[in-house]
């Protein structure tokens, strides 16, 4: 970012900028620019180099985030750039998750994209920029900034979803995503406007202060209307029922590595934003929005798990299952709501972030396998028939991911679910916790179906050969190992996640 030009006549006092704190963001955006500019100026790079560079940039952002985390642990959280961004462990955690997703997805995307004329820097640049947008969402301390981050992420996603131009499904998913996303963004923006009117500011910190002093003001209704619309926009992004309708179509139609990115980084960013807005910004209205979170959670759990059951397409199954996972994460949000704005924040936020991290790895792994087995939108269940006989390791990895998604012990999926359930129970949301677990049982049927196909069906004779490129193998392998190892020994992650706080 270049330093702003200053007109002599305008005494503009720019806010202090703490560059290192912004370094992950700058790395990602700068990396995107680098890819585009250098990519444009040089001839076609050697195979896989774009992906490699992209992964390195993502990794670098993650590492920088870890340094920042350390800094926050030592010196406490702060806000950045005039209160526009929060600089806290919550933001850094999201940054790490999203950056990690960039790394893994870049590795997955490599071979996938190499087969298309898109094998240039653009896709990776968009990935990186989307990641930056996601990080802004999760760190935003200002609703306008949040909106801009959301738009950055969304616009990149729209394009990425439609990026496979040989596929009608990809185009359709891109358009659907775009129209619905624009629709939802408009609601979100309108919500920001109304909340702005009611609180006099878009800055979360100022919102909290002004709301705390609001007294007996009639403005509340305006704020409530605004919250309703904010929830629509965020609900859309996190794919909570009934705002999930786009999810299955887009997840199915989008190129599979992109789907993986949406389901991981997209969700992490959206949930980050949701928590920022609700827990950080609107704790004084928690009695109003908490029931809605409850309803959204239940609706997502039920809709996601029920509809997943009747699918034939594996990508759609996973899409619906991601809806039900959103419901699960909302259980954690609901738990956090109970103590929103209080000194002891409870376990909700930590559990949500832990879930997002663990789920991201699982879902990237899952879609990574799908990407290798069924390259296009037509990932019918029958494509997976007998996978265990053809590619035992791949089938084994997929089984691990599916078991993890089902919440089987000794996988991270279980730790994640346990975390949110624990948070929910801690907040005495017993009903929600039970509903969540029961729907998890229904959802388990879906994963079992895929496993049955892989392990117990016979291979179709005319099944095309599956090749497993090295980078994808590394990504999937890492995800599988992580899923198992962190499932077995999660205490470090839990320890870290417990340190997650929101700047106040």
């Amino acid at each position: 970012m270049n330093v702003l030009a200053q007109a002599d006549t305008l005494p503009i006092s720019e806010p202090e900028i703490w560059w290192f704190a912004l370094s992950p963001l700058l790395t990602l955006v700068g990396g995107a620019l680098l890819l585009m500019v250098v990519g444009a100026l040089t001839p076609q790079w050697p195979r896989g180099l774009y992906a490699f560079v992209s992964a390195m940039i993502g990794g670098a952002a993650g590492v920088l985030a870890i340094f920042n985390w350390d800094d926050i642990s030592d010196n406490g959280p702060a806000t950045l750039v005039g209160g526009a961004l929060a600089f806290d462990t919550f933001a850094m955690w999201s940054t790490i998750v999203i950056s990690g997703a960039v790394v893994l997805v870049s590795m997955l995307a490599d071979e996938y994209i190499r087969d298309t004329p898109n094998d240039g820097p653009e896709i990776y640049a968009l990935l990186l920029v989307a990641a930056a947008g996601g990080i802004v969402m999760a760190s935003a301390n200002d609703l306008i900034v949040l909106f801009l981050g959301l738009e950055t992420l969304s616009l990149a996603f729209y394009v990425l979803a439609a990026s496979n131009r040989r596929s009608d499904a990809s185009a359709e998913s891109g358009l659907k995503y775009f129209l619905l996303g624009g629709f939802a963004s408009a609601f979100f923006l309108y919500g920001i406007a109304l909340v702005y009117g009611a609180t006099g500011s878009t800055n979360i910190g100022e919102m909290v202060t002004s709301l705390a002093n609001r007294g007996d003001s009639g403005n509340d209704v305006l704020a409530l209307a605004g919250i309703a619309l904010l929830l629509v926009g965020l609900g859309f992004k996190i794919a909570a029922a009934p705002f999930h309708v786009w999810t299955p179509d887009v997840y199915q139609g989008a190129p599979t590595p992109i789907t993986a990115f949406m389901a991981s980084a997209g969700k992490a960013a959206a949930f980050g934003a949701l928590i920022r807005v609700l827990i950080s910004g609107l704790p004084s209205f928690r009695d109003d929005w908490q029931p809605i979170i409850w309803v959204l959670a239940v609706a997502s759990l039920v809709v996601g798990s029920f509809l997943a059951v009747v699918q034939r397409n594996v990508k759609r199954m996973l899409a619906y299952s991601s809806v039900s996972h959103a419901g699960f994460i909302l259980v954690g949000v609901e738990a956090a709501a109970h103590t929103a704005g209080e000194a002891d924040g409870g376990m909700g936020i930590s559990s949500v972030q832990l879930y997002l991290l663990l789920y991201s790895v699982i879902v990237i792994g899952s879609f990574g396998v799908v990407a290798l087995v069924a390259r296009e939108a037509d990932a019918d269940l029958s494509v997976f028939d007998g996978l265990a006989k053809r590619k035992p390791l791949l089938a084994g990895a997929f089984t691990i991911f599916l078991l993890a998604q089902a919440g089987v012990p000794f996988t991270t999926g279980f730790i994640a679910k346990f975390g949110v359930i624990q948070a929910g129970v801690d907040a005495e949301s017993y009903g929600l916790a039970i509903i969540a677990m029961v729907t998890a049982v229904i959802a388990a049927f879906v994963y079992l179906r895929i496993m049955v196909a892989m392990w117990q069906k016979d291979v179709e004779d005319d099944a095309p050969a599956i090749t497993v490129p090295v980078s994808a193998a590394i990504a999937i392998g890492f995800a599988a190992v992580f899923t198992l190892v962190a499932g077995l020994y999660p205490s470090l992650l839990i320890d870290w996640s417990d340190a997650i706080t929101l700047v106040r």
Binding site: Y158, V159, G182, L189
Partner: protein, 103 residues
């Protein structure tokens, strides 16, 4: 303040505009027109921002509108890009024609 018009009037008019936009998105089949409807909704939001900024006496609302304008521009560019790429392959396709993914 000099404006005699109650801020709530603006807000109500804006909500009408917003609703018309939303209605249009639901009933129109042409993706371009649907797209325009989204612009209507964004404009409604803008009007709301400005009205509230005026009543608050706070410049931030106006700044927000500025950003929304940029967003709208970027969105249009991207959206039209997607549309073009689709409509080039399938000329005259309506939103309802793009319904292969379902269930």
């Amino acid at each position: 303040m000099i404006a005699a018009i109650e801020p709530s009037w603006y807000l109500i008019v804006a909500s009408l505009l917003f609703a018309i936009g939303a209605f249009g998105l639901l009933v129109r089949n042409n993706p371009l027109v649907m797209f325009m409807c989204i612009e209507l909704m964004l404009n409604a939001a803008n009007l709301t921002f400005v009205a509230l900024a005026t009543s608050l006496g706070d410049i931030n609302g106006q700044t927000a509108v500025f950003f929304v304008l940029v967003v709208a521009a970027a969105e249009v560019v991207v959206g039209l890009g997607i549309l073009v790429s689709i409509l080039r392959r399938r000329p005259g396709a309506t939103a309802d024609d793009l319904a292969e993914l379902k269930g």
